[in-house]
């Protein structure tokens, strides 16, 4: 009814066992301040829980944060869980303490964008914007 476009919805999640969510919360707030509706699910979530929540919330993108070094296992597990539910059209972006040499492997596993500690915030925001824009354009 209104001409204004409805805000993009994204889910920010923190898989794995480490309890530090400063990075995840920082990104969540930055996205909110950029006009996103951000569903934040807190720390210590399993990949299956994250996928299920993302599906229920009908988000256009998932952002994962990991500082524990377990990203090579946890990020692809979220993509797998989405695949299992036939919902792998939802793009998964990931960031945190991730060495450059892991980037390729993560991308191969279906993570559409990988952010390292050096990635500027604006680049992260733009990655979410374009992921959401593309996802929304694909919706029937």
């Amino acid at each position: 009814m209104t001409k204004k476009i409805t805000p993009y919805r994204v889910l920010i999640a923190k898989p794995g066992l480490d309890g530090h969510d400063r990075g995840a919360k920082f990104i969540a707030r930055a996205l909110r301040d950029d006009g996103f509706e951000v569903i934040y699910t807190g720390i210590r979530r399993t990949p299956e829980e994250i996928a299920a929540a993302a599906i229920q919330e009908d988000v256009s993108a998932i952002g994962l944060s990991s500082l524990s070094g377990a990203h090579l296992r946890l990020f692809p597990a979220v993509v797998e869980a989405l695949k299992k539910a036939h919902c792998h059209d939802i793009p998964v972006l990931g960031g945190g303490v991730i060495p450059d040499e892991d980037k390729e492997e993560l991308k191969k596993a279906g993570i559409s964008q990988v952010f390292t500690p050096g990635t500027p915030l604006e680049e992260i925001l733009e990655a979410f914007r374009s992921a959401c824009r593309n996802h929304r354009a694909e919706q029937p």
Binding site: P7, D33, G35, I39, G42, A53, Q56
Partner: protein, 308 residues
Amino acid sequence: METLLRGIRNNEPRAIARAITIVENNEHGSESILSSLDHKSVDASLVIGITGSPGVGKSTLTNALVSSLRSLGKRVGIIAVDPSSPLSGGALLGDRIRMMSHALDPDVVVRSMATRGRLGGLCSAAGAVVRVMASAGCSPVIIETVGVGQSEMDIVRLADITMMVMAPGLGDEIQAMKAGILEVADLLVVNKMDCRGAETLTMEMESVLREKDDALRRICQTKATDGYGVDRLIETIYELESLFRQKGEFMKRRQKSREIEVIERALEMLKPQLQETFRSEINKESNDPQKAAHELIARFYKKLSAEP
């Protein structure tokens, strides 16, 4: 569209989620979804509103309620409403954090919703989401909102039963009375019973209710973090439901909220035409807004009757 409608009927999580988005945004397809819903389920389902100041434990209590309701075999819907930032239009929706223990349960349908500055419009958007969930077999559907603003009061009208959650040490009583929420809450819940001041708060609330001499209203005590008092709370909710249904209050409320929603939707549809008439005809004429409004409506009627 057909696949989506079939998916909704088959309770596919993705289809329900898509449908909720479409009706929330009033996107193309919204009307066919709403008219295809199972109206019997919608009428039969119970809508519970949970409101209260920030941090009193609404989400934690919702989570505890869901655990008990699941052990009763109920399929539950939850709509968690949080305010949008007026500056960016974005929102941080964090109520789910306290409900993740049910994340893998297909019979717990959770949806976070931002107010999006919809004046009043929130009521029709949330009302539509409630119906999708109810049609998908969720009963009760629980709506959590922060009890401060007008939009939250609107949501109260959507609920069949409204509970106001309080906790000691937050000055809720005063807040609640200011907002007039005590007038509409059917159930007062004193949460954080493990904290100092909870008994005093309960007594204060009891005396407020006694003054009002309202036999239909109830007080419950809970400790949401470990589920203390939650079974009793659920019993009270169902007791109130059957009382309301007996007394005809239930249908009266449903009709009232239907009225609000229909009017809201109609006003929304009229708005662009009123704006157009205003800009093209009224704008330059009068400085008196009240007079201008009368004139606008008169012109609008005239235009309508002139149309074939």
